[in-house]
């Protein structure tokens, strides 16, 4: 599904190097967790996957189902099946949430050469999925993310994800700002989307999320590289010992 090979990237504006040779292969159906201290490059990796142009790729490549992802614009990547659940979902005043969902859905379908969804079919899909995520109709009538609480924003992200049915879900610190109940609702929403055809990259600082979304593979990222890879038990180990070992290893 996804192959990241020796990826080096720096911030376009100031040239600061963030990724220093990331290698990562995610097969269809797998859930990978990426953990690591602040500033290790986890969020940068997620933005680069989604196509944010604040970064410059200096070396390496990203293949998505064999296609060179770096040649595609953000909207083309989305249509190809990449979805980034933002750590900080953006508020967009004046764009009604419903209108936005319909526009996004139909834009992706058009890009894939599929017919647009009828309004009744769309409404039905939204209502079902919103109910699962406890997203109220009142929220959907409001402008996108405007006035949503932290938890509501994250639930709205997962709602978008379940409607758009991407092939690769990248969840950037979806657990940040969530209380226990919201964490459970969001995790259930994510788990519902697990399937043999869909892969996920779950970025988090804390093992807590991984109790709910149990990963197949756990990676530790530090200073722009993946420095250790293991099974779900690696997350537990990190919870006990912290990242200190890895930070020093990488610095050495």
């Amino acid at each position: 599904m996804l192959e990241i090979k020796n990826l080096h990237a720096r911030i376009a504006e100031d040239g600061k190097e963030i990724l220093r040779g990331v290698n990562l292969t995610v097969n269809a159906g797998e859930v990978h967790a990426i953990m690591g201290p602040n500033g290790s490059g986890k969020s940068t990796l997620s933005y680069i996957l989604a196509g944010k142009d604040d970064y410059e790729i200096t070396e390496g490549e990203i293949l998505f189902n064999g296609e060179n992802l770096l040649e595609l614009g953000p909207d083309e990547r989305a249509a190809a099946g990449v979805f980034l659940a933002f750590q900080y979902p953006i508020e967009i005043p004046g764009v009604a949430t419903m209108e936005f969902l319909k526009t996004a859905m139909n834009a992706q379908r058009r890009a894939r050469g599929e017919t647009e969804m009828t309004i009744p079919a769309f409404m039905k899909a939204v209502k079902e999925k919103a109910a699962d995520l406890k997203v109220s109709m009142d929220m959907l009538k409001r402008p996108l993310n405007v006035g949503f609480s932290g938890g509501e924003k994250k639930r709205a992200e997962i709602l978008q994800m379940s409607l758009l049915e991407p092939k690769l879900c990248v969840l950037d610190e979806t657990d940040s700002g969530l209380d226990i109940d919201a964490l459970r609702i969001v995790s259930e929403g994510v788990n519902k989307l697990r399937s043999p055809e869909r892969s996920m990259i779950v970025i988090t600082h804390y093992q807590r999320l991984l109790d709910h979304i149990v990963p197949d593979v756990v990676h530790v990222m530090s200073r722009g590289r993946i420095v250790k890879t293991g099974g779900a038990d690696l997350a537990l180990e990190l919870e006990k010992s912290g990242y200190a070992d890895y930070v020093e290893d990488a610095a050495a």
């Binding site: 909207d75 967009i92 004046g94 764009v95 834009a107 978008q160």
Partner: protein
Amino acid sequence: MNANTPITHTQAETGLIARYDSARAGFAGTDAVIALRDAAAEQLRRKGLPHRRVEEYKYTDLRAFMKSSARLSAAASADEARAVLEASDGFGDLGRYRIVIANGRFVEALSDVAALAGEGVTVTDFTEALGGDNGAALLAIPASAEGDGTLALNTAFVQGGVMLSVREGAEVSKPVELLHVVAGEGAQVTRCRIAVAPGAKLKLLETFAGNTSSGETNAVFDYDIADSAELTVTRLIDGDGEGARLFTTLARLGSEARFHTLGFIAGPSFVRNQQFVAFAGENSEARLFGVTMARDKALADQTLIVDHAVPNCSSREFFKTVLDDEARGVYQGRINVAPHAQKTDGEMMTQALLLSEGPEMANKPELEIFADDVLCAHGATSGQIDEDLLFYLRARGIPEDEAKTLLVLAFLSEAIEEFGEDDVTGMLEERVRAWLAARS
């Protein structure tokens, strides 16, 4: 230099003055009206067209823009006007009454005069009214507009228009469209006077069709909103006209009156939409909105003066501007609060979105407050499309152009939605979309 030394006239000024002198004998109006026209023409002769050294026209230099002056349009037949009318229909199938002013003159044959009479609205030909006993009073202007060059041009050359009187307590069931049409070539200079009697309610749609000729438009709308009356005006200034498009609102509000208006500008090369609003009675409210779009080398100017001359009135001014290419946008808003106008509530905001590096926005909100117990605020912003918003939309699969359209529409819709006339919201948003779709 002596203050009385005549200025050196531009070609346009020379043309206008010559045109005035030759057409004067045929102008409508009583002797008193002609005297007012002469005085206005004399102002033009003495001061020339308004230019950048006149404070109110600092950013909107009409003198530099007008290279020549078009002849006044000749009267159009009803058939000629009908042809233009049918070719352009600003409000689609919205149910409304229509009043047609073609080439500066009221066309009764195309206007719903009888139906309006049934609703309590009397329609009179302005040209005829200028010849009546009250003729000169119809050209009166408020103190805050004294000396304005656009108004002087209108007074000198006004061809005609209509007077609408809404009977006391009448609530007109459908909007009335005041449709200006130019058939053929030439300038149109019109004046419409709308009197809404106590307790009456009227919604106006002002449109300008077939307006692509190079001739100027100078249209004045004079609103008299009596006690407890309500007037809502949607002014739609579009088309791809090359000549100057000058619009003036003069509004007086009695007590407990409501004036509610949106000026929508998209297209013409040179537009000034200026409004002079005065509160004459207490507990009244004026809500002024603006939506402006300009591209290429166009200039679009929204200027207003709101006079809080009495206590306990509120005004809201909310203007949005989107500029592209080398376009220039102007917002000048002044709220005057007289010394005794306590409890005035004024809130003015102007926001501009620049779609490229080329455009310029001049935002000039001003408050002149002489009372001490008031609530007044103003704000001004100019910026570009937020890259983070754009990325978020694109990351959801929305292509860049479509994402920009959504964001611009969202930006402008804030004003359209706060204006809150559901009848026209969809049509206005369609126009925004069409304007954006034409982006090269």
